[in-house]
Symmetry: C2
Subunit: 84 residues, 2 copies
């Protein structure tokens, strides 16, 4: 069975976010006001072959915590959808 | 009124995605098989002050197309949620 996986990675609360801070500083200069709390994250999408949903969940959590994210500074949410 | 905005940016179909390709090459080496179509995108979250939902939509679309994304190589989806 094939599953479509979406991993959303965000910096943990309190971790410095230079990209977000740069966007927040730049927007008023460009004429956009009233914008705050800018944060930048990343998404990783992939297709995974697994025997069933729980196997897909286990595999994607393993990949996520061991390779795609740094749990010391990042948190992630995984969304799994069956494709075929 | 305050709105919470989520902008999800993905590379357009056919645009080279070196980060995704690197992840796809690395995973089998680490023992994970059956993974394909890896793509990497980014998310930008912020809080926006606007008079109403349509104003928030207009402002965030402007910010998105003029500053946060490059429409030549990227596509984006905007999710708006009222905060207060």
């Amino acid at each position: 069975m094939k599953f479509s996986i979406l991993v959303e990675v965000q910096l943990l609360e309190g971790i410095s976010d230079p990209a977000g801070a740069t966007i927040e500083r730049a927007l008023p200069v460009l004429g956009y006001r009233g914008i705050s709390d800018v944060s930048v994250g990343k998404t990783i999408r992939f297709t995974l072959e697994a025997t069933d949903l729980s196997h897909a969940k286990e595999l994607s959590e393993q990949i996520c915590s061991s390779f795609l994210t740094n749990p010391v500074i990042e948190e992630s949410t995984i969304t799994i959808e069956e494709v075929s």
